[in-house]
């Protein structure tokens, strides 16, 4: 079947198109070249005057896994209040900050997103995360594997293992858990928390294994490069939320010494200690470092005001925040000698100085970091805010007047602590398309996603160009997934299942005998059972493998 999407304004940065009017042709789920005047499309959509982009891709969103289910249980009041009724063909669900799988898939699709990636998949919980992601309809998914606090890696490093052995370990773990990238969360810190340390400096040897966070960070960044994994090490840095943590953030950039590094939810890691309140914006310093160093990319983790729940593997940071829980209940878990999880409900208040400044710091980062290919639109869902706040966030980036209006409603001391009011930049549609489509696909190595060129998967979103950018991005006119129309005027009209994106880097399998021994001795699980079979991922029908290129970075 041939479908023609005729006459839309194409925002397709990967192919150099910035609003040029053109036709798209879709056959068998992919975009194809113009078949010529003789071809007779089976279906034609007249998109004259409409804005056309690839399906959006969320690079960092906690959508599945054990911590999300704990968060759902903790947010019982919200879930009772936010029920979704079954409406053909759509099923039921509940939740805002931690929606059910069904609601997650539907809400993403309704906003024009066709993929979202779970950025904190613990090795021991990977099978659960995959089972859960398979129940998220409509969108593609995948997971980043959390390493860097696992006792086996720390043991390996403590034994003096070289770069090759570390890369073999990482390579095995990515393959075994069907992951797309490597994530490090407060490297060394979660492990130290299990020994009752509530803080660990970057150059402080951790307990038991006596490895410094810096060593873990450089070892993992090096392994990612050695294996040729497209996505750089995805780092949840040190001292999350602590005033003055900008020093550790800049230190992390320095530590990798030119290797590629992705700093995630960098808003939470861009704090200074200036001023009466010993809490200040360090966004300009972070932005300056990012602008100067092309090996660094970031996503923001913007906070938006209201009730949410924070869910993180960083038990060390979450335990420190537990006293701020709203409502007053929280969960910490130490997990399987590989990481942990901390779930703390939280309400960001626009009249609270700290929260207002966090909001401003996030926006400063967006506006000061110049290259939209290296900064990504996230709220660290649900930590900064639910992903459903993206349309409002896009409006804040594209509309300076709206930004200033909103700013005037916040804590009165805010203006003297932020340069936000002086920043005149407004994102263009092309920059939004870059940040939410082309750049995520490129940095994850998804070569046939995030663009509208021939060969791309036909994940396509069509908008009416409205001056109110929130209204525009909240409710696309049409959303296609794999060439099928799934959303029309904000309503889900058809269901299909997404796919699971993975990498399968090559590694020396001799590491497996060491791993098998350690699993028998320590984990009480056979290595063969730890490894997730292809048939387990979406019933064996849904893996999308992306190429690794050792030595290319």
């Amino acid at each position: 079947m041939l479908t023609k999407l005729a006459g839309g304004r194409l925002y397709d940065p990967a192919n150099g198109r910035d609003g040029a009017v053109g036709d798209l042709f879709v056959r068998d789920g992919r975009i194809v070249a113009d078949p010529g005047p003789g071809a007779a499309p089976d279906e034609v959509h007249d998109l004259s005057g409409r804005v056309v982009m690839a399906g959006a891709i969320d690079i960092h969103s906690h959508i599945a896994g054990g911590k999300v289910n704990i968060a759902r249980l903790l947010m019982a009041e919200e879930h009772r209040a936010a029920a979704i009724t079954t409406e053909e063909p759509c099923g039921c669900g509940v939740g805002l900050a931690t929606p059910s799988t069904h609601a997650t898939g539907c809400r993403y699709a309704q906003m024009g997103y066709t993929a979202a990636f779970e950025p904190a998949m613990l090795p021991s919980n990977a099978r659960h995360a995959h089972l859960e992601m398979a129940d998220i309809p409509l969108i593609d998914t995948g997971g980043y594997l959390v390493l860097g606090n696992d006792d086996l890696l720390l043991e390996l490093l403590a034994s003096g293992a070289g770069e090759e052995a570390v890369a073999d370990y990482v390579g095995f773990m990515l393959n075994a858990t069907r992951s797309l990238a490597v994530k490090a969360v407060n490297p060394g810190g979660i492990n130290a928390f299990k020994y009752n340390q509530r803080r660990l400096d970057v150059d402080e040897a951790g307990p038991f294994h006596a490895i410094t966070p810096r060593r873990i960070l450089t070892a993992l960044a090096g392994a990612v490069q050695r294996l040729g994994i497209p996505h750089p090490l995805h780092l949840h840095g040190f001292n999350l939320g602590v005033p003055g943590n900008v020093e550790a953030t800049l230190d992390s950039i320095a530590a990798v010494d030119g290797l590629r590094l992705h700093l995630t939810h960098v808003q939470f890691h861009a704090y200074g200690v200036e001023g009466d309140r010993k809490f200040s914006s360090a966004a300009a310093r972070v932005a300056e470092a990012v602008n100067r160093q092309p090996n660094i990319s970031v996503d923001v983790g913007q906070i938006m005001f209201g009730q949410t729940v924070t869910a993180s593997a960083d038990t060390m940071a979450q335990m420190n925040n537990a006293g701020l829980a709203h409502p007053k209940k929280w969960v910490m878990m130490d997990i399987e000698c590989d990481a942990g999880c901390g779930v703390v409900p939280f309400r960001y208040r626009d009249k609270a100085f700290v929260n207002a400044l966090q909001w401003a710091i996030g926006l400063e980062l967006f506006l000061l970091i110049e290259d939209p290919w290296r900064i990504f639109l996230t709220t660290d869902h649900p930590n900064g805010a639910p992903f459903t706040s993206y349309p409002e966030l896009i409006r804040l980036l594209m509309d300076r007047d709206h930004r200033l209006t909103r700013m005037a409603e916040l804590h009165p001391a805010l203006p003297e602590h932020t340069i936000l009011g002086s920043l005149t930049r407004e994102y263009s549609l092309g920059e939004i398309a870059t940040m939410t489509r082309a750049a995520p696909a490129r940095i994850l190595g998804l070569t046939d996603r995030g663009h509208l060129g021939p060969g791309a998967v036909a994940d396509i979103t069509v908008y009416t160009d409205r001056p109110d950018r929130r209204a525009m991005f909240e409710k696309p006119d049409l959303v296609f997934k794999d060439g099928r129309l799934i959303v029309r005027d904000g309503v889900v009209v058809a269901f299909l299942q997404g796919r699971t994106h993975v990498v399968e880097p090559a590694y020396d399998p001799t590491i497996e005998s060491w791993m098998a021994r350690r699993f028998d001795e320590r984990m009480g699980q056979r290595l063969t059972h730890f490894r997730i079979a292809e048939e387990e991922i979406r019933g064996g029908n849904g893996l999308v493998r992306h190429a690794c290129q050792p030595g290319s970075f």
């Binding site: 289910n69 063909p89 021991s124 099978r127 659960h128 699980q525």
Partner: protein
């Protein structure tokens, strides 16, 4: 279903590294011998749960409608006819794997039914506290590798989870220096098998009133703050409480473990809450974590699936096409009083409870299940991890395991049957 094994079998067939799906400990080291055509015997462990459950493999029997043997398709049609007419259906039991749970929950959504697991009482004593206050918890590998003080609250959990001490406590902690471990039983006596498993490890028993575990936990929490003001509780002397509190303060990584389904006092969730508070208080001084044990018949896994599918856990009604969670109203034993049709799923054990007269029961259970009263429809199904591959969750809620198929008796899996029933309902179900 095609067999994935050679057709020319050498007797007996030995299956190694078998995953046991039954009690939630996730033991994956079993050796199971198969005497063709379909007799299984566990050879590698004396675990009574594994031995008994794996050995139950009677030959497949046909489905029955009103006691009369019929082909599967006919039983499916009969079940669909019953459910199409139901006003207040209950989909419960739910002793099944992840795929079975998905299919059962989808059917329940379609019917507007109430969903619950047969064994959720114990689970709910824990979940109630999680939902009210949260907690600090840990997992089995952390217990094994980091715990230097294990405090077992109440009856010995090994009665429900027989290999707990052998696999997760007897090995010395690998990630503590120096490796040391001791075990304290509070208001409960270790079983003989537990004493054997713990030989060589210091064990202290503080026998106390098992109905007052919560009081003992509260006294310990108070003594943590000020050892000089320790009070006796649950029949345990003040000096013993003070000494244990001091030991908790000095522990490097203490674990407080309990099996809530073994508590038999009323309002057992309040006992759990006291234990959870004790753990939280201990973290003012050191590291300490709780280990709530539950998990027979994949109750933990089914609850996980329900929570991600609907955003709320088990004991949820889907009437009106939306999830409404109420752990009191929608506990299966309570709701069964008003349900007019019951779909009871029990793939891990040959048991179906007796329901009131007037209720139409559709039972999906193993061959050879003895029933108090012949159900309207009985469909024999395979057991996960014996007749078909299956995902099940471990007790600590983190680790999901893939159990494989061992034999082929020609029994369908629950997911297949439930999907067929849903497809046979008058209107086609949503495709999602």
């Amino acid at each position: 279903m095609a067999s994935d094994r050679p057709t020319h079998l050498i007797r007996p067939v030995v299956h190694r590294d078998v995953v046991c799906p039954f009690c939630g400990l996730g033991c994956d080291d079993l050796t199971v011998e198969e005497e063709p055509p379909a007799t299984l015997a566990v050879r590698s462990t004396d675990c009574p749960v594994a031995r008994e459950r794996f050995s139950r493999t009677p030959s497949a029997e046909p489905p029955r409608v009103a006691g009369v043997a019929v082909p599967l398709a006919e039983a499916v049609e009969a079940a669909a006819a019953v459910l199409a007419a139901a006003q207040a259906p209950l989909v419960a039991g739910l002793g099944t794997d992840v795929d079975g749970a998905r299919a059962a929950l989808s059917l329940a959504e379609r019917l507007g039914a109430v969903v619950d697991h047969a064994l959720s009482d114990g689970l709910y004593r824990n979940l109630a506290v999680l939902q009210r206050t949260g907690w600090i918890a840990t997992t089995l590998a952390e217990l094994r590798n980091r715990c230097d003080l294990l405090l077992v609250a109440g009856p010995d959990p090994a009665a429900l989870h027989p290999r707990l001490f052998e696999r997760w406590v007897a090995p010395a902690p690998a990630f503590q220096t120096p490796p040391s471990r001791e075990v304290v039983f509070l208001c409960g006596e270790p079983l003989d098998a537990t004493r054997t498993a713990l030989s060589g490890i210091p064990v202290t028993v503080l026998p106390g009133d098992p109905a007052k575990i919560g009081d003992a936990a509260a006294a310990l929490a108070a003594a943590l703050a000020d050892p000089s003001r320790a009070l006796g509780a649950a029949g345990i002397a003040p000096g013993d409480i003070a000494a244990l509190a001091e030991r908790l303060r000095k522990a490097r990584y203490a674990v407080v473990a309990w099996a809530a389904s073994a508590f038999d006092e009323p309002h057992a969730d309040l006992t759990v809450e006291r234990l959870v508070r004790l753990v939280r208080d201990a973290n003012r001084h050191t590291r300490c974590a709780g280990l709530p044990l539950a998990g027979h018949d994949n109750v933990v896994g089914v609850n996980q699936v329900c929570t991600w599918r609907f955003g709320v856990p088990l004991r949820t009604s889907l009437a009106g096409g939306m999830p409404l969670h109420d752990p009191h109203r929608f506990a299966w034993a309570r709701y069964a009083d008003v349900a007019d049709a019951v779909v009871w799923v029990s793939t891990f054990r040959p048991e179906v409870p007796a329901f009131s007269a007037g209720q139409t029961v559709i039972a999906l259970a193993p061959s050879g299940t003895a029933m108090a009263e012949e159900p309207a429809v009985f469909i024999p199904v395979g057991t996960p991890g014996i007749d078909h591959p299956a995902h099940v969750f471990r007790s600590d809620t983190v680790v999901a395991l893939r159990a494989r198929r061992l034999i082929d008796r020609g029994l369908p899996d629950v997911a297949t049957v439930l999907k067929a029933i849903a497809a046979a309902l008058p209107q086609e179900a949503p495709t999602c």
